[in-house]
Symmetry: C6
Subunit: 77 residues, 6 copies
């Protein structure tokens, strides 16, 4: 695994919404570790951002990560 | 993550049905953070709303979020 | 979220089989909230009901909801 | 939900392997409730049974149900 | 469910790696119960083993089973 | 299961980020056990690394493994 700057030091967030935004970050990082060129990722963005199924798939990855983040925060109870 | 208005302050809901509707909101937010143009999202709606597999995929994202919301509410026991 | 009649007041069921049927209801509701026209949903039914992969995908959404319902019922132990 | 004969009275099984076979039953039931014609399901079988991705998708639904069944049996510890 | 030889007597493994290999076995068994002909499965192998998305899908089924196996082993803590 | 060198001795990591990187390793191993030729895997890389949906699918497998790793580490609380 190539050495990268620290980008994730905790799964704890103050609010459920910040947790959701962390889930989005995690989903994007999963892509970024696989396609390391930011330029290529930027080129692909208009492709999937205008495709309904691609957006649903992206939303699904966020949903899976949100399960993790929510559990890590005891569901912000 | 761009600053947005607060849209999620709690995962707690009064009933299982409200929890289901929150899961739908979460699924849509996952899309909205990825495709930020409401106009584009509106244009895509007729595409996936008339496609059986797209609807099943959308239902799946809701199902994943519903797991989170239901756990957050201790399954409304 | 448009106001709809109450359709889900509890995740508790008497038996594992009733829980499975509740999972099916949840999967269909996920579709119905997205495509609100019952007529359109009815028109799509023959499309996916005769397609093996569509059926597998539908079965998958049921499986995800069944995890939730089963947990809510402590697995009917 | 149409009335059907009882086919699921418990998620408990004696062994992890029987639990796996129950997960397969649950996956198939998810299909059968959606496509109620056994004849149509039989016709679709050769289509997906000879397609690698269809088989992987079917295996995935089994995996999701197996999570439920395994949890219901406390992982047969 | 056709009678088969015992192939799964426990979800317990000595190490996380053996658990991963058990997850692979479970994923393959999910396929084998659906397509019972070993010859057909062998014929399909080159199809999906050379397709990036098919491999990702196969990896996903393993990941789902690994969640089950890891929980069964209390994460080998 | 062919004998391979030890590559996974623990699911414990020091930080959430190392846990994420372990999840990536697990996702890749799921592919590597299925397509054992490193040369073939290398050839497939440009195919999926330039495809938005393939990247999303890869990110999803990472997300599923990350659930496991995070639970194994009690969410690094």
């Amino acid at each position: 695994m190539r050495s990268v700057a620290d980008w994730l030091t905790s799964l704890q967030t103050d609010t459920p919404q910040e947790g959701f935004e962390l889930a989005i970050t995690l989903a994007r990082k999963g892509v970024a570790y696989t396609q390391t060129s930011a330029e290529t990722r930027e080129k692909l963005r208009p492709v999937y951002a205008d495709d309904a199924d691609s957006l649903t798939m992206a939303s699904q990855v966020i949903a899976i990560h949100y399960q993790t983040v929510a559990a890590a925060n005891n569901y912000w109870k």
